[in-house]
Subunit: 332 residues, 6 copies
Amino acid sequence: MNHNRNKTIVGKALPNIPWEDKLEGCRDAVWRYSSNPIVPRDLLSTSNSIFNSAVVPFGDGFAGVFRCDDKARHMDIYAGRSKDGITWEIDEERIQWVCDDPEIGQWGYGYDPRVCWLEDRYYVTWCNAYAGWPTIGVGYTYDFETFYQLENAFLPCNRNGVLFPRKINGKYAMLSRPSDRGHTSFGDIYYSESPDMCHWGRHRIVMATTSGWQSTKIGTGPTPIETTEGWLLIYHGVLTSCNGFVYSAGVALLDLDRPWKVMYRTVPYIISPQESYELTGDTPNVVFPCAALCDAATGRIAIYYGAADTVTCLAFAQVDELIGFVKSNSRA
Amino acid sequence: MNHNRNKTIVGKALPNIPWEDKLEGCRDAVWRYSSNPIVPRDLLSTSNSIFNSAVVPFGDGFAGVFRCDDKARHMDIYAGRSKDGITWEIDEERIQWVCDDPEIGQWGYGYDPRVCWLEDRYYVTWCNAYAGWPTIGVGYTYDFETFYQLENAFLPCNRNGVLFPRKINGKYAMLSRPSDRGHTSFGDIYYSESPDMCHWGRHRIVMATTSGWQSTKIGTGPTPIETTEGWLLIYHGVLTSCNGFVYSAGVALLDLDRPWKVMYRTVPYIISPQESYELTGDTPNVVFPCAALCDAATGRIAIYYGAADTVTCLAFAQVDELIGFVKSNSRA
Amino acid sequence: MNHNRNKTIVGKALPNIPWEDKLEGCRDAVWRYSSNPIVPRDLLSTSNSIFNSAVVPFGDGFAGVFRCDDKARHMDIYAGRSKDGITWEIDEERIQWVCDDPEIGQWGYGYDPRVCWLEDRYYVTWCNAYAGWPTIGVGYTYDFETFYQLENAFLPCNRNGVLFPRKINGKYAMLSRPSDRGHTSFGDIYYSESPDMCHWGRHRIVMATTSGWQSTKIGTGPTPIETTEGWLLIYHGVLTSCNGFVYSAGVALLDLDRPWKVMYRTVPYIISPQESYELTGDTPNVVFPCAALCDAATGRIAIYYGAADTVTCLAFAQVDELIGFVKSNSRA
Amino acid sequence: MNHNRNKTIVGKALPNIPWEDKLEGCRDAVWRYSSNPIVPRDLLSTSNSIFNSAVVPFGDGFAGVFRCDDKARHMDIYAGRSKDGITWEIDEERIQWVCDDPEIGQWGYGYDPRVCWLEDRYYVTWCNAYAGWPTIGVGYTYDFETFYQLENAFLPCNRNGVLFPRKINGKYAMLSRPSDRGHTSFGDIYYSESPDMCHWGRHRIVMATTSGWQSTKIGTGPTPIETTEGWLLIYHGVLTSCNGFVYSAGVALLDLDRPWKVMYRTVPYIISPQESYELTGDTPNVVFPCAALCDAATGRIAIYYGAADTVTCLAFAQVDELIGFVKSNSRA
Amino acid sequence: MNHNRNKTIVGKALPNIPWEDKLEGCRDAVWRYSSNPIVPRDLLSTSNSIFNSAVVPFGDGFAGVFRCDDKARHMDIYAGRSKDGITWEIDEERIQWVCDDPEIGQWGYGYDPRVCWLEDRYYVTWCNAYAGWPTIGVGYTYDFETFYQLENAFLPCNRNGVLFPRKINGKYAMLSRPSDRGHTSFGDIYYSESPDMCHWGRHRIVMATTSGWQSTKIGTGPTPIETTEGWLLIYHGVLTSCNGFVYSAGVALLDLDRPWKVMYRTVPYIISPQESYELTGDTPNVVFPCAALCDAATGRIAIYYGAADTVTCLAFAQVDELIGFVKSNSRA
Amino acid sequence: MNHNRNKTIVGKALPNIPWEDKLEGCRDAVWRYSSNPIVPRDLLSTSNSIFNSAVVPFGDGFAGVFRCDDKARHMDIYAGRSKDGITWEIDEERIQWVCDDPEIGQWGYGYDPRVCWLEDRYYVTWCNAYAGWPTIGVGYTYDFETFYQLENAFLPCNRNGVLFPRKINGKYAMLSRPSDRGHTSFGDIYYSESPDMCHWGRHRIVMATTSGWQSTKIGTGPTPIETTEGWLLIYHGVLTSCNGFVYSAGVALLDLDRPWKVMYRTVPYIISPQESYELTGDTPNVVFPCAALCDAATGRIAIYYGAADTVTCLAFAQVDELIGFVKSNSRA
């Protein structure tokens, strides 16, 4: 296997990563897949929308956990599989969690999942109802067939809990965005540690909102990508226009050993709602990345993002170009 | 005349009901007309938008009352006529009500009309300004030429007043949704009775908001359709996203003799904003049914709905399939 | 019995009306009882507060219906009796309504009662929970022992429903203030008629908010007092300061035959929160009249009002002086 | 040079004014350019959007000041030049103001510029950050190369400051819309005078909001056009739907000598969001005119407007038709 | 006459300044008058409250302009006179302004007046309704009998306009607090200049809100006091508790020649609502200084402040102690 | 030493507990100290208010941590000492925390402290600023001289973190109320565990809001008191009146081994704002208990509570009576 030929991404080669070259003349560091959306809203017979979903390499293909809201607009998460990372089959039944404690295992709703290969299994984190309010659910699977649920990481309300793909300083590490009960109008990214994936502490502020596209709230997107330059963090930011929230995405580089220290952070966004499938849908003006595949051999990155809270899309970047972009577009 | 060949709809045959068969592969109980919208926003020289309107069989064709907002964005209701229920001619002048009491007859604005054949005439109910605020206006016509205005049914504020097409237990019966003065963020459906179409009482709650697409407010759509299974009620529901209201529609079956008793009610919506003419316009993300034609001979139902508060559209259903859908998709 | 010696109040003499002369030098048309409050917050062992309550002559003394919030801050109404109208005994148990329809008779909460002698019995109207929301409950008693509940007058939400003490144009007549689900920030007074105390209609606007002390909302206080000059209406008005609502009271004179026509209405208030028991309590800055006793022989009026949503107080006026005040302080 | 051949517009001929004839059958007084938008959102390598911009005749072509928000969603203004008024070249660097006073010259942000030829130079007014909040920045240029900044006209917060193209009664004159710190939900148009372009006073109300499309707030658009019938004022108005603001535009005629006196004002809008580039974008449902070119010889008017806070568009009108429209569509 | 014996206050001696020595043991730089309030709410037969008022030495006594809200809670300003500055006679009729321009002279409401001796007359500034909204009214009197109204200084909305008692750099100078239409939740102090008391410009930020008692908004109180150490500025600040606004007062020292430069500013308040007449009333928890008398001979300062938006009170300070306090309690 | 003579409280005798017998005729389970408040707002020369503070037995007297807001209205916590628990000496300097990590040790503000003897030291928990927002600070002292700060327990925002006085099931246990950034309008009580007083998890809902006095939010008050009947929990609840929040207090009994299981919970409050020092002050209508002393020998409980966010008060209860009260006043 070819580790690190590109040498920037710390990880494995992924030769079958979904990919499309950048169009001639495109000046952007991130570009969209020309056949977006890749997952239509009605892929399931019961689904109203499929978006804000997470995928990982699995076997000789890919697997993932998908947010599929049904036509009651109830939010649930489902397992799915794909050969090429573009065409997906999603189970018709939502994930049924195996859980020791019935109070924790009682299902309310789940949304915006992330999946992270960590040590020996795939961890899933998601926005999970507890006592009726959103917090960070944690579970794992070995095979995307059986899923085991652990304790929720934090007190409600919290959203966008994202694990680091390896322990930091001997502890599990998670980013999250504490929030309130509604369409929260604030939100910063925090870092927390755990010795046992059950108790969390040593909370540290990572990044707060600034201005423009990231002035209302920010939250982590995909699992951070380890690179020789630091943790590459793709995150979303929200601007409040007179007609509501606009969700865009940007990039930051975090210190490898103290990931709560931000070394670089893009002032401009890397992608914002501009295509019709991003501008209109159940929630207009949303791009919301939740996963990224990386090929360490070539430096290719495939970003999965939800569009307009309705469909799932794909965008691409090259790791060195993206790191160059964040370095040269960071506030001095 | 062919009464009840289908036997489910209690009513008359309507052989000239507008109709288009469901497309092969369509899994939905309600499907859109392929030439939507049927009434463009600028059908009148002065109209900004024509939507949330009501039609009935009339003579050998159809007549209706239309909400036409003019380019001042003032809301008024207009009479219209059609041979086929699809191509409409609408009067250039709004309806001029004949009214005994000048205080009631003084016109402020009117919107979201419904029309109901009841006993010997066509009753019109609409959202009517009284003392500057919306309540339920009531009037009638025999010919869609002369319109007579009665007393408003309720105290302001109220919207979506819809009559039953026959007396219930010897009384006139109306559904309505009490509201407040602005873009009301709550709203349940109530039932009220009247001995004389002037005084109303014995108010009963019918349905309250639940969750998902019907979590913010709900309101009656077309005149309830009498079937052998109960009153078939098509209603709208509203979900509040971070970018505003989303209006979808669902179905309920009410007890024939005590229509404030809900026997079945769809957990999923039957139609939600998904087409570009529903997703964009003066109010994005709105489907709002206000009328339905029924052919008792075939069980065909043609639903008229406003899209994006801008245009008027058509969708179709088959009564037995729709009743089957509500029965099998009702909360246990 | 001495009817109408003073000739202004149309009604009976009430020689035992509670009374205290106006203090020398007092320039106000309404003056407070020097021993206010007359009902302390903890008169009942379980009561947190007793206020916004209604009294009438009964037998050789007085009876009333009292709003007693318990220490859970649950709102209920209780019957009470008094020899002198000042010292009260209130039942330890809330009123238990006899009601034919279990859905209407199911008790949620009740507050701000009014009592009105009409034809042959004492009608009670109050703010009554239906389907969880406030509307106008209606009931009656002959003896303040057994209470019979009728249908709610209106759809929720409504508050401050007050009956006229005789039929107007052959119909029962009620004033009310439609509202919303919370601490409503609007509210005008409407008039409605009923042939049968069950169905209500012919709704007419009586008065809307204006400015100053009555700029946010207004609502009827005691049962209107019939006088030779018109219906004397004591009502409350609300001003919104930067620190919340301020409840004051004013007076209007309504046309005897068309009581929705206002002949005079005070620009200044007649009483506003100025005493410590009005300025502080569960809701600071509230005076809220709910009842008035009248002695037709002398023109004396005794006004019962809630103070600070905590205690019950008494104020006095002389009918001719009060009518003179409203006439000379009405907007030209 | 051909002054006033059409005789209605008081000004110069502009033979090279951008123009496209009205389509057969179009009933509107204002019609869109068929190749809208004329300036795409990404004309600059760094631009997120280019809109709400102002152009004037300059040399044998045109020059302008453009609002270009960058991909941080930071708001700045840039100079641009065009041969035909349709195809534009915009500087890659924002305008660098020459300013005597460093406190005033310190740049925060700038947006929604207007340009006005007055006496001997091109004045630029824009929404300018002072102490962090928006007010009316004032500056001038002779050549669209060097720009000189003067004192801000008013205290924050203010937006949409627009100069008259000549002195009125010996004083400079400006229209503006005082506002608050956020997405202001109110706004009327005021008139102010200055002897020296530094101190402003004699403020007069010109127009307040009314109803419908202009019920939430209104603000001046392009520099007023002097005509023999009065100042032709194109302005925007905002309606608040349940899903946010809708920006349309209308026309008024102001008295030539006392421009704070409105002679006529359109009840209907002249243009509202109806095309996809107006309905969707960073802020859906916005048309926002900021400039108009006029050819006194033919009466042609070319209106530049921002669409959806994203792109710049063009619409056309004929002065006599437009004046006729406002006269015949004004509230009696 | 004894100028400047104390040498700190630049001005005249005022031997009859109201005064009461500080109580033994009092640790505060400002202390209350023991007979507060000095003006009761009902001094006028029509007054609901008298507060936020301004006084100056006049003849051998004192004169002032008082905010007297009547019992309609309408806000007006009245002239008053006093021998000792403590016992006041206030006219029963509000000030009738002589004004050249009927549009400006048309009276809506007026409140929170300030009075400033400047050159040869007493200028009055107040919060004045124009077009229905508050801005800074300006007028003058020679004798507190005849009052002449000038142009409003600024566009609405603005409050707390306070003149400097002499020209600064050859121009009239005013402090003000731009605001919005309601109970504004923001507010900083700005400085503006005028050559003619009609046109105003060169606006400069003086102080913005900080934290604690002055976190929501701040505004100037009395006319700034010229001292050898700078302009002594007493100002109010507002904190938003969960139960509304709390108004306290602090002190700043401004540069004599560039008064928009703050040299010192108290971190703690000098007075906050603690007495019952400050804690309860029409608006609980308000102390609001609007005037100060100074005796240059002794350094005594008598501060007039409104309490609870209900009554007028008096507090005292010694200039050197107050300057010492602001210097030693300013943020380093 | 006399352990458990009363046998209900599990703990030590405290013969010098502050105490005053209940007055004859008092029907309440909790009664106020007749000399309230015990700590005036200005005990410190710099203090604006002293309230919401915590005390414990210490040596032969008492020690505590006090919330003292200074006259800037900045919130800090201070150590204090008392011989009798009633007369207190409070340090003039706020607590200076010894902390290993400078990011955690950096002081922003602190308020609403609790003190809990646990194993071998006094733990202090308080509302601590981290990254500008409130969360639960944790520290300890042996002597009330030197204080050591640990990691914050939770992510912001959180308030009212209260430790149990012994480990539960081998873990440290804390109650808290997650909140948002402002005057939070929601709030339930949660239970969390920690193996090391650094990492927290296994979060469980204990109690949610219900209705009446505890309808807006609830939060723990003093350290839970271990009794033979369960953990006796005194907590506050908030009702939202039209004029703001009202803070009262109630009692619950929690399961000894699974303290997130509520066995009993009072429907009525045990104390609510009724005295002038509770009704008026910096925040009107607040009683807020933060500490309780217990004498196991007699069953006496002395409750320390903040009044009106201004002063510190004392109330008393007898443990058996209080447990009887909660048992007989719990929702069936």
